[in-house]
Subunit: 114 residues, 2 copies
């Protein structure tokens, strides 16, 4: 007896996309195909988690991994159609954050201590 009133597809979609880092990775890939280390630097995520999350997203059919056997090998991650279809979600999210999110004041960068 399932008394949940939430659409199970919506629940599943949310679980995939709202997993820690997943949204930011997809958002980053909406800018175009990118290599592992580019994403790693852009998001300041650890290799361990990036690797894990890219595998998850590939498994969900959202991210595609292409190997270019150059030397040195180049591996590019990009979005599938399913991944690109998320663009409107992130567009609306960008609108919301730019209207409603204000940053905590961070201590002014001090070149001596930071």
């Amino acid at each position: 007896m399932n008394q949940s009133s939430v659409c199970p597809r919506f629940e599943k979609g949310m679980r995939i996309v709202s997993k820690r880092w997943a949204g930011l990775i997809i958002h980053q890939l909406l800018k175009g195909p990118q290599r592992f280390c580019t994403i790693e630097t852009a998001l300041q995520i650890s290799g361990r988690l990036l690797s894990e999350r890219l595998k998850d997203l590939e498994h969900e059919g959202i991210v595609k991994r292409d190997v270019y056997p150059e030397t040195p090998v180049r591996i590019e991650y990009s979005l599938t159609d399913k991944g690109h279809a998320l663009a409107p979600v992130f567009l609306e999210m960008e609108k919301w954050t730019s209207s409603w999110i204000e940053l905590d004041e961070e201590p002014a960068a001090d070149p001596l201590t930071k």
Copy 2:
């Protein structure tokens, strides 16, 4: 030196909304103000986490908590303007999930064992 290329507001917004359960709670409250136990039942979330997450969201100015000193006391959670402003995000998310998410086949419900 911050070499991250991601807009910090976007990052912060994502961190708030994509925290486990937060999205589903907001989505649920978009249907209208609701009491604790209604959300708990609808989402099948534990009281412990629901309580914690509602406090987070209240702290972020997304959720409002109203106490009606009836007997027994009634406490209603609802969205603030900031919370309501997330509606388009969830609308796009709903479109995406209905187009692209398919459910894993779950074992046919057996009234004797389930």
